[in-house]
């Protein structure tokens, strides 16, 4: 663990992306303390460009874009974090079981194969449509959409680890199945799970923006990056900052998450860290 952190700190991409992520999260979390009310309408100040009073300008209702972007970030971060957490939990438990027990694999994996046949975006739209737009149903929909992906990763690691001699040795000693999974398999499969988590986080942020762009996400007037982009389309030539800043927020966050995930993978990948032994 300590070597992992130290190794990450030697990777410039990891340090930069982590710094960006920390900044985004910090801004989102502390927003109520310093940002103006994101919903305060000021008709006199509509579509004003960046200035000292409105650092990122205002939108078509005269609302402060900076406070709307950071407040939107709260929702995006919440959804991204919740989705990756729930999807990781679902995917890890089902992946461990399917990878270890053939009977579970035969039923559960076929079901998830069916789920995977739908593009995750379409699946999420359908689920949100069915559940009604709210933060909770969006988290649920996105978690279900990403569940099969994580499950596959965990399942394949488990199937590989199941054949390890120390797992066989544990069985020979009399360790029960669940205990083998938790003590012997899971800790050795943690790296790909964490890496997948960062990618799911990034994609969930993107998908959340897409959903609210289509009007399926959190309902207005609450700001989200997606619905801000949707509202700003009409004013693209008149007030480009209205589109640019929420768009930039999405790009920077998703890019940072992906870069961090890549760096983490390079660091944790068994082929790059081990290999000197055996």
């Amino acid at each position: 663990m300590r070597t992992t952190v130290a190794g990450l700190m030697r990777r410039p991409l990891a340090v930069v992306s982590l710094a960006v992520l920390v900044a985004v999260v910090l801004a989102a979390v502390t927003a109520p303390l310093w940002a103006a009310d994101p919903n305060r309408i000021n008709v006199a100040q509509r579509l004003v460009g960046p200035s000292a009073s409105h650092l990122l300008g205002t939108d078509n209702f005269g609302r402060d874009i900076l406070s709307r972007v950071v407040t939107g970030g709260r929702i995006s971060m919440l959804i991204g974090a919740s989705v990756s957490l729930v999807a990781l939990l679902l995917g890890t438990v089902s992946g461990l079981l399917a990878g270890y027990y053939r009977a579970v694999d035969r039923t559960l994996s076929r079901f998830l194969d069916g789920l995977m046949a739908f593009p995750s975006f379409l699946l999420a739209i359908a689920l949100v449509g069915a559940l009604g737009p709210s933060v909770r149903s969006e988290i649920l929909a996105l978690s279900i959409a990403y569940w099969p992906r994580i499950m596959r990763v965990v399942r394949s690691s488990t199937m590989q680890l199941r054949e390890e001699q120390y797992v066989e040795a544990a069985r020979a000693v009399g360790v029960r199945g669940p205990s083998i999974l938790l003590r012997h398999v899971l800790p050795n499969a943690m790296a790909p799970i964490i890496i997948q988590g960062t990618f799911v986080f990034a994609e969930a942020v993107l998908l959340d923006a897409s959903l609210s762009f289509l009007g399926l996400g959190v309902a207005p007037p609450a700001p989200t990056w997606g619905n801000m982009l949707a509202d700003s389309r009409t004013y693209l030539s008149l007030a480009p900052w209205f589109s640019i800043f929420p768009g930039l927020a999405i790009v920077v966050t998703v890019l940072a998450l992906n870069m961090f995930g890549d760096a983490l993978r390079d660091q944790l990948d068994p082929h790059s860290t081990r290999g000197s032994v055996g």
Binding site: E168, V173, S179, H184
Partner: protein, 357 residues
């Protein structure tokens, strides 16, 4: 028969199963009896993956292991010896057959009873790098059997772990170290400490020294022999070469293509092998004597596929002595002397006095 403190746990609630054929009361000190054990691995074959064929890894094997002895099991890669070892401790399900451990049929035991039974039988694995979880300290590894079977806890368990490490010649003060900090031989000692932690009666040593270099091999073998003397252990010692088993084994069994072809006391195997395959194996052993000009038997061809073994005797395709009979009729393991059994129509060593070589 040796006395064992743990036998109470084993005996309670376990029904005695009728042993087939000869086993009843013949030799009272059988620890393990194997009858008609088979393990087939189905693999897909043919067009579009339809239809399956079986890899006959272990095919109708019967033998016994006596309490307190070391039975060496040799055979080349793919002969089924490791599969056989795993079947004996039920690390994989059998296709058919019986394994009786002190009269209990292991194959029909429910999972929970089998877990109790595991206290009596342990395995030392081949790979000293793969058989220890890299995320556990060696103290945790050796203590795991005690934890699983709720044998002791806290300081008591720590003391037992130290005792076990000492018993296998490791420094107990290093028990908080991780496996990668140890050498191959030391790791194998950790594996041995784990195997003896529960005071088992029977240990399968599955190529336990094959991955070690020669000087370390003999140390580990000596350790196993010392432990056998101190703890009254019974071993099935699996190896792929006869030279390794020579030192440790009381009896030696030879496997070829899923079949047991010969089983005899160690000295008989080395002096008067009866099966042509055994004698070929023996002639492959290097002799450290430049003036020794003995004739080497070099086997022709490859080991046939275990999915489609030759008819009759499986060794006939490579045997110098093969005749028509060998392709028609499968030789069964039969006695040709005290404790000497061979599966060959034309065995080399003749019963009793006469020796053909």
């Amino acid at each position: 028969m040796q006395i064992d403190q743990d036998s109470v746990a084993v005996q309670e609630g376990l029904k005695i199963i009728d042993k087939p054929e000869t086993a009843q009361g013949e030799q009272p000190d059988h620890l393990l009896d194997v009858y008609g054990l088979r393990k087939y691995f189905p693999i897909r074959d043919g067009k579009l993956g339809r239809g399956t064929v079986n890899v006959r890894a272990v095919d109708d094997v019967s033998f016994s292991i006596f309490a307190g002895e070391t039975l060496g099991l040799v055979g080349e890669s793919g002969s089924g010896k490791s599969t056989l070892g795993r079947l004996l401790v039920r690390l994989m399900p059998e296709t058919s057959g019986q394994v009786l451990f002190e009269g209990q049929d292991l194959m029909s035991l429910p999972e929970r009873k089998m877990r109790d039974m595991r206290r009596q039988m342990q395995v030392v694995f081949q790979d000293p790098f793969g058989s220890l979880n890299p995320r556990f300290t060696i103290g945790e590894i050796v203590g795991e059997p005690l934890r699983v079977h709720r044998i002791s806890r806290g300081k008591e368990r720590a003391a037992r772990v130290s005792e076990l490490l000492e018993l296998v010649g490791l420094d107990p003060s290093r028990k908080d170290r991780y496996p990668h900090e140890f050498s191959g031989g030391q790791r194998q000692r950790v594996g041995i400490a784990r195997a003896i932690a529960l005071n088992p009666k029977f240990i399968v040593a599955d190529e336990a020294v094959s991955a070690l270099d020669v000087s370390v091999q003999s140390q580990v073998i000596n350790l196993l022999m010392d432990l056998q003397r101190e703890l009254g252990l019974t071993y099935l010692f699996i190896a792929h070469g006869l030279d390794v088993v020579r030192h440790i084994s009381d009896r030696v069994a030879v496997m070829y293509l899923g079949k047991l072809v010969e089983i005899a006391p160690a000295e008989r195997i080395f002096t008067t092998p009866a099966h042509h395959y055994t004698s070929a194996l023996l002639s492959a052993l290097p002799v450290p004597d430049p003036h020794n000009n003995r004739e080497r038997i070099v086997l022709q061809g490859e080991v046939p596929s275990p999915t489609n073994p030759p008819s009759g005797c499986r060794f006939r395709t490579r045997c110098v002595r093969a005749e028509e009979l060998c392709s028609k009729e499968e030789p069964i393991l039969h006695s040709i002397g005290e404790n000497h059994e061979v599966a060959c129509h034309f065995p080399l060593a003749q019963p009793a006095t006469s020796e053909m070589r």
